[in-house]
Symmetry: C2
Subunit: 264 residues, 2 copies
């Protein structure tokens, strides 16, 4: 399997898009997640480079929801989209290995949580080596509460997310694709533009997955700096503002074009 | 529903046990997780106060594995055991709420990851208020790599896990049961006895879920200090050393008795 970042870069160039559409089938708005997500995939496949499935909104429906998650992953890949499993897992090594095998190769990439440290992330990095997977490690998240832990000031005066960025850089240093980007990327809240700039500098070889565009209030112009390492070096994810729009296709096309222009 | 810590304290007193048996059906050792876990539940129900299901080892089997997870939860509760879902979730508020609803009341309690901060944990605390659930927040985990992030030195000279302990204390301060224990507990690696002592002091009202006994190398005597807030103020979890023993019932009985003596 080709390196994740190389598959991603090829898709970005082919589609002129860095848009990731977040598939968040909220239970109170979406009775049938499989039918709903297929419809969105059909609508956005030409405009988005990837879809990001929020696992919680499938898991909340029990085993049937997890079956739908699996089927949506397959349907989206069939439609030529990369698939990101937004699962934010992290556990001790033997357990993390089981999580990696649960989601790769169902998805091309997953989000992971760094709190438990390097040996908890290593099984996912191993899936990058073994199966051409990608991971996006939480660094500075889009929610207000992210300050509680991620912004804590370290002894050297830096915020915690600064040090976590360095760790992500280390973890991804031996899984670099031919285009120079690592299979180990970072999740950064588009709601924190200053942090986006700093993390771009700290992680010159990582793909930044920018969350919080749309319903959470961030705008594409807030994150233009993220593309400093090339057109495929950042992905902009929007969920509710697209999937619940009157025309998801139109909204995806509009946002993809806006982001593409910013990246040039 | 009665408060989680009150249900727990009653069960600890009734069974004279603080033992949690970890149900870790490793895929390469356990072909049928439902049959395997039922057998373990039958063997340990009299000796353990709870079982802890490691979600990854069910999720790695896809939707069928998740169905087995659900069925094992029901079977264990039927057998008079409390059920802890070891899921280590953490996400933005709307998503965390979906996770809370996915696992409560299937399980009595779940493990959560604090990296995303207070608003990511709040939906789980709300499930504590609403449904008598409990949560165990990762503070200092049993793996070697836990040092990478959790031990980082803060500007005030303390390690990060120290500050996370304070946050856990705050998050649990308005969900205290009649016995004085909070519904918000903490996951602490029994492999770090000094940290167990310090976290016991920082979290006088939290139940400590001590992981890493047995296969990961920690011994019950390493964690005797954890019981400083009463017999139900700490739980000792062991997985592989019990579930893969020649006689899980005998091993559970032996370990439960050893821990009970330490707590008196």
């Amino acid at each position: 399997m080709t390196h994740f970042a190389d598959r991603l870069a090829a898709a970005v160039e082919r589609k002129h898009s860095q848009l990731v559409v977040g598939l968040d089938p909220f239970p109170d708005r979406v009775p049938d997640p499989l039918a709903f997500c297929r419809q969105i995939v059909d609508a956005v496949a030409d405009h988005a480079v990837a879809v990001k499935l929020q696992s919680a909104f499938f898991e909340v429906r029990g085993a049937d929801g997890v079956r739908a998650f699996e089927e949506v992953c397959a349907y989206a890949r069939e439609a030529g989209l990369l698939v990101i499993g937004d699962v934010k897992r992290g556990d001790i090594p033997t357990t993390a290995d089981a999580y990696a095998r649960a989601f790769i190769p169902l998805a091309d990439a997953v989000t992971v949580n760094p709190y438990m440290g390097g040996d908890s992330v290593e099984p996912f990095v191993d899936a990058c080596r073994r199966e051409g997977a990608g991971i996006f490690c939480l660094v500075k998240t889009s929610n207000r509460g992210s300050a509680d832990v991620q912004d804590l000031e370290l002894a050297d005066g830096r915020p915690l997310w600064h040090r976590v960025s360095e760790l992500v850089h280390e973890w991804g240093s031996d899984v670099i694709g031919v285009n120079g980007l690592s299979a180990v990327g970072a999740v950064v809240g588009a709601t924190y533009p200053n942090e986006v700039v700093a993390i771009r500098r700290l992680l010159p070889r990582s793909v930044l997955l920018l969350l919080g565009i749309g319903a959470q209030g961030a705008k594409p112009t807030d994150v233009a700096a993220a593309f400093g390492a090339g057109p495929a070096s950042a992905l902009v994810s929007a969920s509710r503002s697209i999937i619940f729009a009157d025309s998801p296709a139109h909204e995806a096309q509009r946002l993809a074009a806006e982001v593409w222009d910013l990246s040039q």
